[in-house]
Symmetry: C2
Subunit: 331 residues, 2 copies
Amino acid sequence: MLLLLNPLTYVEVVWNLGAALEYLSRMGCRRVLVQLPQGMTHASERFLSAVEDRSMEALLWGRPAYGACDVVDPEAAGADCLLHVGHLPFPWLTPERAVFYVPPTEVDVGAVADALADRRSVALGGPAGVLPWLPRVAGELRRRGVDAGICEGRGRARWPGLVLGCNFTSLLSCRGEPVVVSDGSFHALGLALLLGRPVVRVDPLGRAETVDPMPTLRRRYALIHGASGVRSWGVIVSDIPGQRREELASFLCRSIRDAGLRCWQVRVTEVTRAVDDLGLEALANTACPRVSIEDSPMHRIPILTPFETLQALRLAAGGRLSRKYVMDVMF
Amino acid sequence: MLLLLNPLTYVEVVWNLGAALEYLSRMGCRRVLVQLPQGMTHASERFLSAVEDRSMEALLWGRPAYGACDVVDPEAAGADCLLHVGHLPFPWLTPERAVFYVPPTEVDVGAVADALADRRSVALGGPAGVLPWLPRVAGELRRRGVDAGICEGRGRARWPGLVLGCNFTSLLSCRGEPVVVSDGSFHALGLALLLGRPVVRVDPLGRAETVDPMPTLRRRYALIHGASGVRSWGVIVSDIPGQRREELASFLCRSIRDAGLRCWQVRVTEVTRAVDDLGLEALANTACPRVSIEDSPMHRIPILTPFETLQALRLAAGGRLSRKYVMDVMF
């Protein structure tokens, strides 16, 4: 499957490594920077060797990519082209000479359909690697009398069925019960947090589980309570291109100051443990909301999402918490 | 003490925070990015507030600076000026609108002189913060009959008496026994590794210690031995401006390949634990050599300096290790 998003800017999406490399070669690339997603960096030699087998030089980006928001500029890293693995691109964030390759996740279509055969109506979605299989899963389900839909999302998730860590619109714009087909519960947890109720996940071998947002929500509200008593805040702005939200940061810092507290912007490349040692009591992180949620246990001070920060301010002002947890505030 | 390096490019070095802020203000700065050294980030509020008291907006860089090689470009971080704290600048690496402020380390001149009074001849040096006191320590020592010198270094350490983690030329260009005046043994350990023998350090309160390189050297040679048996290497290139050594990386990768092993360049911003998970068996790090030495215990695979990498290749080829440990290979 080969899909040209925009041939003029050489942006291409493929589910076939050979085609991706062929495209890089035809583009005249000489030094290719390889960027791999978390969980695939251990296989870097395979990709580096494959690039070299086509007589191009290969360089490796030394940090896992967390999404298509986290696409590195190859020129800044001393290369002339980028091979980004594992994510479907946001066209407005893609460097000119970049090719995206998404290794398909092997999905047992029959087993996944079996796991969902007792439902009346489902909306199917998952991360990029499972997308090629979803139409076949839907077909199997329909043969068994289940109304199965795969819908297009909005914004960053415009591919049919695509679910990101921060965007679940493809599942929510279908009727039917949302079902995440994925290895790992990261995507399903995001949706569960957004909906405030358990969500069904089926792994590629057809094993179903229910992902409950409550343990995570309890931890988040504990952090919100903790942060409601602090006096000095930092608002983190990341310089990862798709996570750089300066207006949101200005708004948050203004809100914090309006509440009579101190606030400064903190500029980072990555959100590392070093931010715990800045002498600030709590941090609002305007980069990926999932970074705040997944990495909180490694930090010594509260690191909140923008929504959680506004909740902490409301608490500090004697107000009540919202009954609904909002995954992200988009600006 | 106010010293203009080059008034045309607004590069200024001060041991006085008020003067540094005054200079930023006169430059017409509106948004000042504050960059603090390790060990001083907990006091960020003091610097952020001081900037704001002069009616400029303050932003904080979210990671400690490890030296004047690690100076951030304020524009890339959304500011128009930089206040870099804790290091003396390398003029060739300094952004246009940058002011360097070095908080003086309080030194008990009499106590330091007492600790060295039984020597015949010493060369005094230390990190930036102690420099204002060294002439007075030297004066005290001379009054007691000790021949005390403070010499200018070469390259990155051209300030009289300045010792960096990677440059000890100011001590070695003096006759007399080298003595490091500093809090912490980081600088003295570097010199001890370079000389292959113990080095005297005196802390600002006059407490002397001898810093022995042997425990560290034993660990380094163990890593060199471990890395001599691996088949796939990565060579790290950092994009921190003063630590970006592409030619050295190309030379190392070529040497590794000439030895019949596999090698790829790994591009990073910071050297984090993520580099352990790249599926490579050993890493040569062309960024600051002290990063490899100080951070090795946190990594699961050998991370070697350029010199150590060449030693591992020599071992792999059946050769012998050099009798001398070389701190850094400058290209």
